[in-house]
Each structure stands twice: as C-alpha cells, then as structure tokens.
C-alpha cells in the first residue's frame, strides 16, 4: 500500500481532461462575445474606418504597448507587477532631455542605462532576497518620483537641444515608436519561446519552489526579466520625452496602470507561468480601439477610463480567476 491518506488527488485524469475541454473555452467565448459587440459599433462609427484613424490608434498604442511588453516578462516570471513604471519613465525622460546637448546617441544611452539599472536593482531584490514586488515597487516608485523632483527642482526639464526630433519621425506615415513596439513584441516573443532565459521565466513563474529545488537560477532569471522590463520602460520614456519635448514630474501619468491593463487583457496570468508578448500587443491594441471608438462617438475621457476599467475587470474575472491556479 503506497497510498497515504489524503495525498491522492481525486481522479486527476478525469479532472484534467474536463479542464482541457472546458477552460480555454471561457476566454475564447468572451473574446467572440466582445467582437460581436465591438465590431458593429466600430464600423458604424463615423470616421472609424479611415487610414488616419488606424494610424491614430497605432500611435496611441505605442508608448503603453512598449512598457507593457516589458511588464509581460515580469508577470510571466512570477514577479506580479511593477508599480513604479510611471516614475521610472519620467526620470528616464528627464535624463534624456537634460543630456541632449551631448548628442542624441549619448542622451539615449544614458537614459536607457538609467531605466535599466533602476529596474534591474528592484529585480535583484525580488529575485535574490524574495522581496514582495508590489510593496517593493510602491516604495521604489516613491523613491524614483522623489528623485525626479530632486533632479528637476520641481520645474519642467526642457530639451537641451533639438536632436530629439529624429525620434518623432513618421516613416510611411507611422510614428517611429510603432515600429519599435512591433520589433520589441516580436523580439520578446522569441525570447520567451526559444531562449533558455525566456523558458525559465515560465518555470519560475509557474512554481518558484519547484524551480528552486530543481536548481534553476531563480534569482538570475528574475533579474533578466526585470532588466528587459527596464529596457522597455526606458525606451517608452525616451519616446515620451521626444513627443513632449519637456518633462514635468508627472509626465509618466497613468503609464503604470495602462501597461498592467494591456498585459492582463492579453491574458497573461497575474500569478505567473503563462502569457505571451504578442497577446499583450493584442491587449494594448484592443484597449486603444475601444478608447478610439468612444472618442469618435463623443464620450468624455471619464467614460473611456470607465470602460477600460470594466474591460480589465471582466478579463480578470473571466480568464484569470477561472484558471486552475489563477486565484492564488
């Protein structure tokens, strides 16, 4: 007799089989239902089906999308979310604008370095010291936000030269940031699927204790995910600076929550272990399309935010809480 009481799970085979049939159904049904509602409304909206509007949607997706791609890796690797994204992007933007007098390349490198280091340090604390990412990034957000006030003296930081304009180029009528977003999404997806580091992110996120017991480098994997996220945030911050040409301490705005919303709508598991960069891209686009439709139909900004919130809520309830381990 090898069975010890209570250790045998009740009929794992049948439970798994029914889950396999049932679970992917719910998100798919939800997606189809959303499309059934959204598509007729969208196509009947005046000026929705125009090239200009498509460009506008893509352009408005770019900055949030880039940050969201990075946040996807962090979430897949089991570090939940970073709540310091807005502040980080703001500091990066300030560093970029203030150092533009040394040329575009130097300013970009310095700004990206700043974003990567600040974020990687947080990843180190989460990966090696098991810091709680939520608490840690709230604290880090305050510190970084304080840093931006100290750096700027509370007044807007203006561009030290006009070099930033290169970044506002629109080849083929689309902002440069859109191309960068697509590139990063494809790159992140390749990293996740076909590199050792990416695949280990899924494992660490799925079961951290098992990854540790198996001798996987949990700390290093976490730092790599956060470093990539820092890179994405920095790129987003640089474009934000170039677009605004000056940076105040609240330049980052709602970037933190917008990025998280895109990742969640894309179906990445909040507890880690599941997700995809391309789906995050889809999530970001979906949010933009809905905001665009509401804008074209004359609804206020408040209505747009409300609908975005309801959408995220619906996804969280339908997709995440129904998953076998989503409610952890």
């Amino acid at each position: 007799m090898t069975t010890t009481d209570g250790l045998t799970s009740p009929r794992p085979a049948t439970a798994g089989a029914s889950r396999r049939r049932g679970r992917p159904g719910a998100p798919a049904v939800a997606f189809v239902a959303l499309m059934v509602v959204l598509v007729p409304i969208a196509v009947t909206t005046d000026r929705f089906l125009t090239l200009d509007n498509a460009r506008a949607i893509l352009a408005s997706t770019a900055l949030v999308g880039i940050a969201a791609i990075g946040a996807t890796l962090v979430m897949i690797a089991g570090s939940a979310v970073s709540l310091a994204a807005s502040q980080t992007a703001t500091v990066v933007a300030m560093v970029f604008l203030a150092t533009l007098d040394r040329g575009l390349v130097v300013a970009t490198l310095l700004a990206v370095l700043c974003g990567v280091v600040v974020t990687a340090v947080q990843g180190f604390a989460v990966g090696y010291w098991e810091a709680n990412p939520i608490v840690l990034t709230i604290a880090a957000g305050f510190a970084i936000g304080g840093g931006s006030v100290w750096f700027s003296g509370g007044t807007p930081v203006n561009a030290a030269s006009g070099d930033y304009d290169v970044l506002n180029a629109t080849p083929l009528g689309l902002p440069l940031a859109v191309y960068v977003l697509l590139l990063l999404a494809v790159l992140a997806e390749a990293v996740l699927r076909r590199t050792t580091a990416g695949r280990r992110m899924y494992l660490v996120g799925e079961n951290r204790a098992a990854a540790r017991a198996a001798g996987l480098p949990v700390g290093r994997v976490t730092v790599v995910a956060w470093t990539f996220s820092g890179l994405c945030l920095a790129i987003s911050g640089v474009f934000l600076a170039a677009f605004n040409t000056s940076a105040t301490t609240n330049l980052g705005g709602t970037l933190t929550l917008d990025a998280i919303a895109a990742v969640l709508v894309g179906g990445t598991a909040i507890a880690g272990g599941k997700g995809s960069a391309l789906r995050t891209l889809g999530g970001a686009l979906l949010i933009s399309v809905i905001a665009d439709v509401l804008l074209l139909r004359g609804y206020s900004t408040g209505a747009q935010i409300l609908v975005k919130g309801v959408l995220v809520l619906a996804v969280v309830v339908l997709v995440h809480l129904r998953g076998p381990r989503g409610s952890r």
């Binding site: 007799m1 090898t2 069975t3 010890t4 009481d5 209570g6 250790l7 045998t8 799970s9 009740p10 009929r11 794992p12 085979a13 439970a15 798994g16 089989a17 889950r19 396999r20 699927r193 076909r194 590199t195 050792t196 580091a197 695949r199 280990r200 899924y202 494992l203 799925e206 079961n207 204790a209 098992a210 990854a211 540790r212 017991a213 198996a214 001798g215 996987l216 480098p217 272990g273 599941k274 076998p324 381990r325």
Partner: protein, 509 residues
Amino acid sequence: MSAPTAEPAPGSEPLVTVEALARGFAGVPAVRRVSFTVGAGEIHALCGHNGAGKSTVVKMLSGQLAPDAGRILLDGKPVALRNRQAAQRLGVALVDQELSVVPALTVLENMQLGDIDAGFFKRRRAALRRCREVLDDMGLDRVRPDQPVAALSMGERQLVEIAKALSQRARVVILDEPTATLSEAESRRVFAAVRRVAARGCAVVFVSHRLSEVLELCDTVTVLRDGRDVATRPAAGLTVDGLIVTMLGEAPHRLEATRRPDPDLTHALRIGGLHVPGRLDGFTLTARAGRIYALAGQLGSGASDVLRALAGLHPQATGSVELRDRSVPFRDPVGAARAGIAFVSNDRKGEGLFLGKSVAGNLVATRLDRLGAGGLVGAGRERRTARSLAGLAGLPADRLADPVLALSGGNQQKVFVGRSLGRDDVHVLLLDEPTRGVDIGGRAAIHRLLRDAADAGLVVVFASTELEELLELGDVILTMRDGRVVSTYDGGANGAALMRDMTEGKDAA
C-alpha cells in the same frame, strides 16, 4: 502494565464498536475491512506501519471522512459522524497528530475554541472554574488558565490539547501520535493523563509508532496491515518483536542489483559530518556509484533532512560534501545542481512538477541549457529530447503534449524522476519518498527506474518510511532516529530490525 485492566463487564455493550469499515481514495482502497471494539475505561491501541490504514480509521472515527462501507456504533447504536462537530456532539474527541492549540491565545481561550457548548456570551467565572478543574485533573497545576499557550512547553501544549478534549465532555478520546514530538518526561505526563481519562470511564483509542510505549500504556492492541485488522490481543501477553512480526506479514521480494558496486571511489559521494541545527546531528556516508542507499526513518528522524541539505535547500546545513573529488557547495541549490546532484522532493505538487506545463515541458525543464547553443532552445532538439526521455521513463509518447496535471500519480512521478535521467552531468539522484501517492503498478515502474539509474553508474540515495520499499530497493540501508544514524545494514537487513531501529532506537534492540 500498571494500567487497570478494564475488561468490559460480561453482557454489557462496548462503548465503541467499529464494524467492517472500508474506505478508498480514487479507487485505491486505504482501509479494506477493519473491526474492533473499545469498552469504557479501556485504552485501545491501533498499530500498523505506514499505509496500513491507521489515519484513515482515525479520520472516520472522528467524523472527518465518511466510510464507503461498514458502520460505527456508540453504546450499541449506529451513529452517523458527518463531520467533526457531529462527532464532538456525540462525545468523540480527537487529539490530532499536529497540535491545534493556538499559541497566541490563552489556555482558557483555547479550551473554548471550537467548543460547540461555549455560548456567545461566555460566563467567564464558571468557565474559569471548569478550566481549572480540568487542568488539575491533567496534573497541570502549574499552568494558569489566563496564560498564553505560547509560554508552555510542547508537552504541556499536548496536555492542554488533551484537557481541551476532556473539557468538551468527551466519552471517546482518540489520540493520534500524541508523543511523536515529545521528550521522555513529557510523554510520561501524557501517559498519566491518558490513564486518568480512562479511569473516569472514557474509551481511549491510542495510535502510535512507538511500540514499547503502546505495550506499556494500552490494554488491548489491534494490528492493521494493508487496510485490514489482522489481530486484536490483550497487550499483557505481547512483546515488541511479536508485534513487529504481526505488523509486517511476509517478507518482500528484493529487486537485485545487476552490476557490482563500483570498487573505485573516484565517482563516490562523500558526506562528512552533515549537520542541521535541531534536525540532523553528524551524518557521515561514503556512497559509491552504482548502489542504492536507503535512509529509513520516520518523520523528524533526519532522513529527509540529509537529502534536502545535499540538494542545497537547508539554509543552516554545515559539514562537507564531495562528489567525484570536488567539493559541493552548501545552501546553494544552483551549485548543487551544477555539481551533478538531482533532487526529487516528497512534495511533487508544491516543490516538484510545473503543474501548468505539458509533460514534455516538464521533462526538459531542467536541461533547457543543453538543447541549443548560445542560450537558444532548438525546437527539434527539444522535441527529440522529450520523446527519448518519455521512452526512458516509460511514459506513453502520445501524452507528451498533455498537461502534466492530467496524468495519474504514478505517471507524474515518472515525469519528475525522468527529468533527471539520461544526462551525463547528473551523478547523484536524491529521492524523498520516491513512491508517495503512487499506485502499485507505478511503484514497481519507479523502482525499476531507480535500479536502472544505479546500474547506469549513478549514486542513488532515497529516504522512505515504507519498509517494503526500503528492503526491496536499498543495497545499503541506514536507519535513522532523532537526527542520528541508528544502524547501517550492508545486506542482511530485515523488517523487524529496521522497524525496531526506526521506532525504538538502538537501546531497545
């Protein structure tokens, strides 16, 4: 021994009657057919080694599990114990293996906790007086009702737990391994309390691994084996050795090594003075490649701590470990894995498999860095590796894409073990309870895998509480108790000797 013999008066009904109880889990029977009776004032022991069905019987008696068949009678009347509250209402109290007293609350508060008779507005003075009486009854005159439980010793907490059961006016008291974590002196006080409880006319069911204490304390012993009651006898005529023979049944068949142990010690795992504060006290072993080393020990014996320390998972481990004449770092699971040590935890779900991933994904999880160059994972190579590992582990190839969660316990364990097979950089395989929650067929297959791994030149070390497994698989068996090795058997072990070592230590031999 000194316990009053309390044979129920002829003609009177026994207080507790258990009739042909049966219960299975997912189709695997844990209890097949168990019957016994306990009279008022009787202390009745349930004995049997791991997996014999003791805990399941206790759970059914205390209302935590419903029987599939059979019935339970109190005072000759059949009762339905739907849950613990229902059992408590009928006067059946359980003192659990794990303490359920809350350290932050006072003794009095703990006694009122979960007491169905405690009103919402507690009459404090009456409750205090009652609590005092019960404590005195238990010989706990130094313990005050308003003291937080955290201030008490483990033995005193166990006694408070028993006192709590009594304060709920129990007539049947079930004690499940009450002395497992107690010192000798603390155990004495628990025994004295149990005798007092019985003397007041309660029926006591006592479950313990420690056979000498069973014989000392109890009036009657029922031995369980493979889910059946194989004997019920008065304790007076029994010896520890006789009891062990009854518990064991026939001797199991061994799975013999097909190759001679490596005479050359250059591939050996040398463990010197391994120490984990409070858990393991100086474990030393030179384990040769090609042999299977079995660590035999109950929970808390240190057997599983040896494995965890070797895998780098014990943050306080000290000592020296050398593998193939290279030092293995401590407290560093990544370093241990790099040195060639693979660990299969006893917690397959929590610390083993990646449950949301496919069978293939789990099989290649620890060797992603070997599936391509420059940090890339080659898709073709990944598929081929997963397929060949499935073959090696005896898993059906058509299930590679299935979620590992959908597999049976046995197949899940094959995935867990298979993940470390067939790689030239793994030299040591450590397994904690290698066949826990695995059916009979899966168990034989896993044993075969371990034997094959040893034959392929690995050092295999496993810890188990199961006698058959230890005897079937271990080339060298080390029995452990209280963080130390009791004996080392290089051949010639038998079940009785192992069990005596594991439960009584060397002195009892």
